[in-house]
């Protein structure tokens, strides 16, 4: 029964999506208020039924209903309860159900929080989201239903892949999907604006908080995935430039560009075409990601089960969505006005430069990801494009962007004097360069590249902090206390600086962990000590331990620093009952300036084990930076100006002084 209720609810959700994707759009075109109003109810109804479908699948997992093929393939009666909940998205079908549930959630969120939008705009936005929902729910129902029965029912489930039995994997996919799917809101706003023919500051203001939230989720989601890979895969890597990772990174890069471009469109009314284009591109890359992950076109460590039918469906869906939006763009874009003008050196040009650099970086990732496919399609041979390529090509593209990042946020809108700003930042620049070049000496052998990385991190952080200090420092002409000044900064501003500081941390972290990590594969017997990164690792004991659904060989490794006992690590080699192959469980000691990381390799004759011992300097700076970036996104989305009831667009302040006479009349 459970599976049938779930499937039925899913089909009802699909029907509601059809209603949501058509009626409000027709209503908006005809000015029919009743039809437009359908959008909101349909969105809520859709969320309800998707919720029911999702609850049914979860129930089936929790109650070990192995008559459902998906549950039988991804669960086991011995699976700990938290992994039964997360096992729901442990495979293609279930993760797709999570995807559509989140899409329903975003739709309902738009319906709730955008009540004050003009009726036509809201109807169009919900209509577009309905169309997207048709595509994805249809995909689930027609090609990938998680409710398919298994006849006869399995006696026992095949268990969730042990790699996925991890807390990191409980939260990573929901976060990632919140990000991916969240960009559909920005996309829907862009398409609604194109249909309505009104691309203006109001449109940018409405879609900006949604974009910021989606971006923040995607940032955290990608970060969590990386964090998970770091300690689960057990060889110290955390970013592999794997096609699936690139697939999530491309929308992130484009979403970052979109976020910055929206700032200009909101504040200054410029770059409207470009901003719309970015919104379309970002969501197109989300669709591309779904295609790449689920079609099996590229080999990846993370890819889902391969099924050409699914690939064809997703490709067709992506083709329809993107082709129609680009056609709409080509048709409507020309009609959009120029917007406020600005000078060669101004906040606008800095943001535009940021956009160009991010777009080029995104294109580079796309090129590297699809190039093997491209050569193969033309019969020009099989190649692999991996980390050495991306490190050689992508990282240099980041240099100008990071240099600009210390400078751009301080520029004034419209026009600024480059010499004045450079002069003001001269000490920050000089100090970050000097300290950046010295910093690597404290980590290991000096290298120029590490110095550059440290310099860029310091430069971004220094410039951001200087700006912050200047804003909250008491001034003689003002009576405001520091507290008042801090409160008056605005969450948008604090969010921006938080995200930029996050970038600084990530840059420093990546620089040092790439440059100075140390690793040893050693044969060890009990009582032996190995030295890595200035720490002594002594194997104290080997024993067998029992887990809920596995047994394990466990090593007790005591870590010494300068002869003193510092911590004890207990890596395991687990044998899950349901799996043929054992799986290593890493043990980590995290610290501000380094992680120590021990993993069991294989058993050797003579009661010895291969132990993999890693020293990863500054690893946690990367995670901290990602958290700051995510936090920045959420903060700026919660800025006061987005929370106050959005005034009707005619009432939005239009700063006439910003409009250059030439553009107003011309």
């Amino acid at each position: 029964m459970i599976a049938e209720i779930g499937l039925f609810a899913l089909i009802l959700a699909l029907l509601l999506a059809v209603a949501q994707g058509t009626l409000p759009l027709v209503g908006a075109a005809r000015g029919d208020v009743a039809l437009m109003a359908v959008g909101r109810s349909a969105a809520y109804g859709q969320l309800l039924f998707l919720g029911i479908a999702y609850a049914m699948l979860t129930y089936a997992f929790v109650t070990d209903d192995f008559s459902i093929a998906y549950v039988a393939n991804h669960s086991n009666s011995l699976l700990p309860i938290q992994y039964k909940f997360s096992g729901v998205w442990g495979g293609h079908e279930g993760s797709l159900l999570l995807w559509v549930l989140i899409l329903g959630f975003w739709s309902a969120a738009v319906a709730t929080f955008s009540r004050s939008l003009p009726r036509e705009v809201l109807a169009r936005v919900l209509g577009v989201m309905g169309l997207i929902a048709i595509g994805f729910i249809g995909f689930t129902v027609f090609t990938s239903s998680p409710f398919e029965r298994l006849l006869p029912a399995a006696m026992e489930g095949r268990d969730l892949n042990p790699m996925l039995q991890d807390p990191g994997l409980i939260i990573h996919p929901p976060m990632l999907y919140m990000g991916y799917v969240g960009f559909s809101v920005a996309f829907a706003f862009a398409i609604a604006a194109l249909i309505g023919g009104r691309l203006d500051a109001a449109w940018a203001r409405w879609s900006r908080p949604w974009t910021a939230v989606a971006w923040a989720f995607l940032t955290v989601g990608i970060g969590l995935g990386s964090w998970w890979a770091y300690y689960v895969l057990g060889w110290g890597g955390w970013w592999f430039w794997d096609p699936v990772e690139n697939a999530s990174f491309m929308p992130w890069l484009m979403g970052t560009a979109l976020l910055h471009s929206l700032a200009v469109t909101e504040k200054r009314g410029s770059f409207k075409n470009w901003t719309v284009m970015l919104a379309i591109l970002t969501f197109s890359l989300v669709l591309l990601a779904a295609f790449l992950v689920r079609s099996g076109v590229l080999t990846s460590v993370h890819a889902f089960a391969v099924d050409p039918e699914r690939g064809v469906y997703l490709l067709a869906f992506m083709g329809i969505v993107v082709a129609s939006s680009l056609t709409l763009f080509a048709w409507r874009a020309g009609k959009v006005g120029l917007g406020g003008s600005f000078g060669l050196v101004s906040r606008e040009s800095a943001l535009l430069t940021n956009n160009v650099l991010l777009a080029v970086s995104g294109a580079a990732v796309l090129l590297g990801t699809l190039y093997p496919l491209f050569l193969d399609a033309f019969g020009l041979g099989k190649i692999s494009v991996g980390p050495p390529y991306f490190e050689a090509v992508f990282l240099p593209l980041m240099l100008p962007l990071l240099l600009l990042l210390g400078f751009g946020p301080r520029l004034r809108w419209k026009q600024d004097s480059p010499t004045e700003q450079l002069w003001r930042l001269r000490w920050i620049f000089a100090a970050s360069f000097v300290f950046g070049m010295i910093w690597p000496l404290f980590v290991g052998t000096w290298s120029f590249m590490a110095g550059i990385g440290a310099f860029l991190g310091l430069w971004i952080a220094g410039s951001a902090l200087k700006d912050l200090v200047e804003r909250i420092r008491p001034r003689p002409e003002s009576q405001q206390s520091i507290g008042t000044r801090v409160r008056r900064l605005g969450r948008s501003y604090v969010g921006m600086q938080s995200a930029h500081l996050g970038v600084a941390l990530v840059v420093v972290g990546i620089t040092f962990v790439l440059g100075y990590d140390d690793e040893r594969d050693v044969r060890m017997v009990v009582g032996e000590t190995v030295e890595v990164g200035g720490y002594g690792f002594r194997l104290e004991a080997l024993e067998e331990v029992q887990g809920p659904n596995f047994t394990a060989d466990q090593a007790t490794v005591v870590v010494y620093k300068n002869g003193e006992r510092m911590t004890t690590l207990t890596p395991q080699m687990r044998q899950y009952f349901s799996q043929e192959q054992p799986m290593a469980q890493t043990s980590l000691h995290r610290g501000i300036f380094r992680d120590l990381y021990v993993n069991m390799g294989e058993e050797l004759p003579g009661n010895a084990w291969v132990m993999r011992v890693y020293y990863k300097p500054y690893m946690n700076w990367v995670w901290a930076g990602v958290i700051l970036m995510g936090l920045g996104g959420f903060l700026s989305a919660s800025d006061r100006r987005y929370r106050v009831r959005v005034r009707r667009e005619e009432e939005l302040p239009v700063d006439r002084a910003d409009q250059d006479p030439a553009t107003v009349t011309g």
């Binding site: 075409n273 284009m277 591109l281 197109s284 295609f291 079609s295 099996g296 076109v297 590229l298 080999t299 050409p308 690939g311 064809v312 490709l315 992506m318 083709g319 993107v322 082709a323 680009l326 056609t327 763009f329 080509a330 048709w331 874009a333 020309g334 699809l370 093997p372 496919l373 491209f374 193969d376 399609a377 041979g381 099989k382």
Partner: protein, 176 residues
Amino acid sequence: MKLRFVLPLVAFFALVGLLWVGLSLDPRALPSPLIGREAPSFDLPELRDPETRFTSAEMLGKPALFNVWASWCVTCRQEHPMLAELRRSGVPVYGLNYKDTRSDALRFLARFGDPYDAIGFDESGMVGIDWGVYATPETFLMDRHGMIRFKHIGMITPDIIEQKILPLYRQLEMES
């Protein structure tokens, strides 16, 4: 409608076309760089008779099939009757027993039959590496001069025998 606004659309269609073609490609199928080259030489103990050696030179003089297999490889078991079939069609079939134990391999042959003219016992897998083996079973077809002309990865099916191996073998027989 300005041209520059249409360009993204054009680029996108090119991308979709590429992905469409990509759907029908197998990203895991690897062409061997050895095709058209001389087969790597080896000198291995013969599996069934440890005292004698089996060298790559023995496969010269006539077109020959060289099959990489192991007793732990499930597909090899399924493929095995095909090799006997080829042997019956007059194709010399040589084997490379890849990363196996002698006792397991001999048991495998006793149970499923032995179509091989000679089998090299590659316990360490080093000869396998020289031949670019990465998945068992793998099958090579060489001409009389020891030039590799064809490689198939995975199970040989009747279709592959009919459409690829036998026609090519007949053609190689004609070549002088």
